[in-house]
Symmetry: C2
Subunit: 479 residues, 2 copies
């Protein structure tokens, strides 16, 4: 029976991009919108986003951030104030020229990100050191006109959160930038069951207008890297461009120090490509819209439907997200569908099970089948959620660790990348070397790692240098 | 001390619009965005919206709705498919002509509402009666280019939820339309402490493209009505325009029946104008960002700060939203600020209070001052939240009921409206009468009420008619 569905999904070992497209469409996570590059996030996909939002939002609030909402429409002149920023984003913006039937005196852009408009407001709101730090976040949509788009990974419009904080000192804003990077990595590990690499981005890869950008990179099952979140330190670049000053305790006016940080619906793409298999999605219990599906088998037999309802109710009372599938379809059809949809635990309730006081269960992560006693089902299912979550992380971590290798020279780097692994290289930070990674292997420096160089020469150019001038960088092909 | 703040807010009896503007800006609910007619929702305002969202979202899910997200950008051609709809919305849309540095082949509009794009997707997704009903909701921003704007009440961009449901039969979609109207009214009563009138809108006031629109109207303290939510029944108008058909059980293809419904950040404006007073905001506990503020008095005295921290912690453990105000300002200054911000309960902790084992409390809704025993504070404060919530509703209901009067003829109608009341009129549904309400009194038919006519002639034209041809309509000046 399984084959009938598996056939609908491309073989991930043969054509990973097609596998991805098949999975996102057939599990009804997403559909294409009528405007090029836009996506409709369907209920099953949106429920994952809601779970991500709830978990992250609680963490943001616990660390002293407040939510707000800034207008989506930004005057063109405001975008233009920070030179590097506008250079980075202007080519991608969507521009509104006509509104309310009239041509606008000044065109406005749809936010590609909100630094400019938030800085504009901060400059009005901030007077004294008493107003600092100000740590705001917003959940919003943004538009960046991209040439090549793929659902969740790169779309013209996407949903995200963007945190924007201002501080009285460089130390505080840098601490915030790094704290949020670690918050993201902890969240990825504990909620998405996804190990990540974190570190500073190279000059070339940093955010337009930032002094320093830090990234969280996750390994996908095809050996490519996905940038899953970034945090930026702006120093005083934006506060000078937008004139955000405060009167400090010492009686002098100073420019604030600033950070921003964001993750987006891209994380859903990361979950799919970090955990999926030939049968489709495999969802970590903490973000799964349905954690347990209950399927009656031979539902027409006496007592089966009632027992299935009772079991579903018990599981819901234990705080689990439960679907009771009573549709007029065969159990086999339902098994396949829920497997494809990545539901962590399937519980079958049939006449024989009931007779024996058990339920037949199947774990999505290991494909194990086993029985559990009916009278202890809620507790055992709750325990299983934790086990599945942990196991998925352990599995991802093992996969990742076995797919990262040291590249001592460019030949090794090529071999490592071609074997669908990440490479750690020693790099002298010369942009020419970085350009060569791209030119020869279509690979990029993902992040610089906080590790001691494993050799005293640059992997690319072979130049010898002292340890202080060399860094260990993670090089990979990337989404 | 209070006067120092009260002076900053205009007298609501003298200049209600200025009072409103002062309150929204000075309590930092909102600020003006750089693009005309846009607003920044500041943390204190956004927290109210988050409380509204949480309460409504739970109700939507409990009644079988799922959240999704549809693209904000809609091709112009898609908007144009339903004739009445485009006529209603085209004059207000913002149009994107340029994106990614290129002029678009077809301009796209920013959604003013999402019927068109959602219908477009529904027509792809729906095949059989098994796919119905489909009951989706989205939380989103929309843009309508308005000439005259006011924070929360009417802004170019606003946040809202829009539910869009399709059904196999007219009965089901009509039931949904009315169920959601009642859900809104129950929510307004139980969460916003706000009585409302619900009923069908006149032909003139209905939504562009709807067969019937139903509205929820709330009375503001200046005697004007605010449309606080609407639900629409589309019949098959959109399903025919967008070709949403399903194969029914009887083997024939049929067009679906459809509803939509929405409430927006306008509700925050409703809360302000339904409950506020000369000192500023009065917030119902269920939506108040801060339910209890704890203010240490003579904080330098031994044990005061510690006790205040302990009390705040106790209250938080009881599930209350608590602010402990330890800022370097006088207690009087703080009292005024939190009063202006509408916090339901203030608790002062001073040396004398501690000695006597009590806390001095002040209720925002009644301005009563009293003491509560320290050892029972959490329970008593929780009880008070319920009492304040109930009292605010009772007060609003009494105000409303004393401000609705029967108008038997146009002279009476004029008097009633001029005395800042709502009028119930008997109306023969003649659009000419409706036009006269507007022309003579700048008033409109808000909703038609489900009540028996109290006379056998139309309040406007005096024509006699049978009870079946007459309705009782609520006529008021409105926002």
């Amino acid at each position: 029976m399984a084959k009938q569905f598996v056939k609908e999904i491309a073989d991930m070992d043969v054509d990973f991009p097609q596998w991805y497209t098949d999975v996102v469409l057939k599990t009804q996570l997403v559909d294409y919108g009528p405007v090029k590059g836009t996506m409709v996030i369907r209920p099953y996909g949106y429920a994952i986003w809601e779970n991500i939002q709830r978990e992250l939002d609680a963490r943001f609030k616990a660390t002293g951030h407040q939510n707000a909402y800034f207008p989506m429409l930004i005057p063109m002149s405001l975008l233009n104030k920070e030179a590097e920023h506008v250079e980075g984003f202007a080519p991608e913006v969507a521009v509104v020229n006509v509104a309310g039937g009239e041509t606008l005196a000044e065109p406005v852009v749809i936010r590609p990100t909100s630094e400019t408009i938030i800085c504009n407001m901060y400059s009005k709101w901030i007077n004294s050191y008493r107003d600092l730090p100000l740590k705001l976040n917003q959940w919003a949509n943004v538009v960046r006109w991209e040439k090549t788009t793929r659902p969740f990974l790169r779309t013209s419009e996407f949903l995200w959160q963007e945190g924007h904080t201002i501080h009285a000192t460089r130390e505080e804003s840098m601490a915030e930038t790094l704290d949020m990077l670690h918050l993201y990595a902890d969240f990825a590990r504990d909620v998405l069951a996804m190990p990540t690499f974190i570190g500073q981005k190279s000059e070339k890869e940093k955010f337009a207008g930032a002094e320093a950008t830090f990234g969280m990179e996750a390994m996908m099952l095809d050996g490519k890297s996905l940038q899953a979140g970034t945090t930026h330190h702006f120093g005083q670049k934006f506060s000078r461009a937008y004139d955000i000053q405060f009167l400090d305790k010492d009686g002098t006016h100073k420019y604030v120090w600033q950070s921003s940080w964001g993750v987006s619906t891209r994380l859903i793409g990361a979950i799919i490509m970090a955990h999926g298999d030939q049968r489709g999605l495999v969802l970590p219990p903490k973000v799964a819209p349905v954690q347990v599906v209950v399927i009656p088998v031979a539902a027409h037999k006496e007592g089966v439907s009632e027992k299935a309802v009772e079991v579903a109710e018990q599981l819901r009372k234990a705080g689990l997200r439960v679907e009771l599938d009573t549709r007029d379809q065969s159990p086999g059809w339902k098994f396949n569908e829920w497997e494809m949809k990545g539901v962590p635990l399937r519980i079958e309730i049939g006449p024989r099970d009931i007779e024996q006081g058990v339920a037949t269960c199947s774990r999505r992560d290991t494909c194990e089948k086993f029985t559990l006693p009916l009278d202890d089902l809620a507790d055992r299912a709750s325990e299983l959620m934790q086990q599945i979550q942990s196991n998925m992380y352990a599995k991802s971590l093992a996969f990742r660790d076995s797919h990262v290798k040291l590249a001592r020279n460019m030949d090794e780097l090529g071999e490592i990348l071609d074997s669908k692994c990440f490479a750690k290289v020693v790099w002298d930070k010369d942009p020419a070397c970085e350009a060569l990674f791209k030119e020869k292997f279509q690979a990029t420096v993902r992040v610089m790692l906080d590790e001691r160089p494993f050799q005293d020469v640059c992997t690319c150019c072979g130049r010898k240098d002292s340890a202080e001038n060399l860094v260990v960088a993670l090089v990979a092909r990337a989404y």
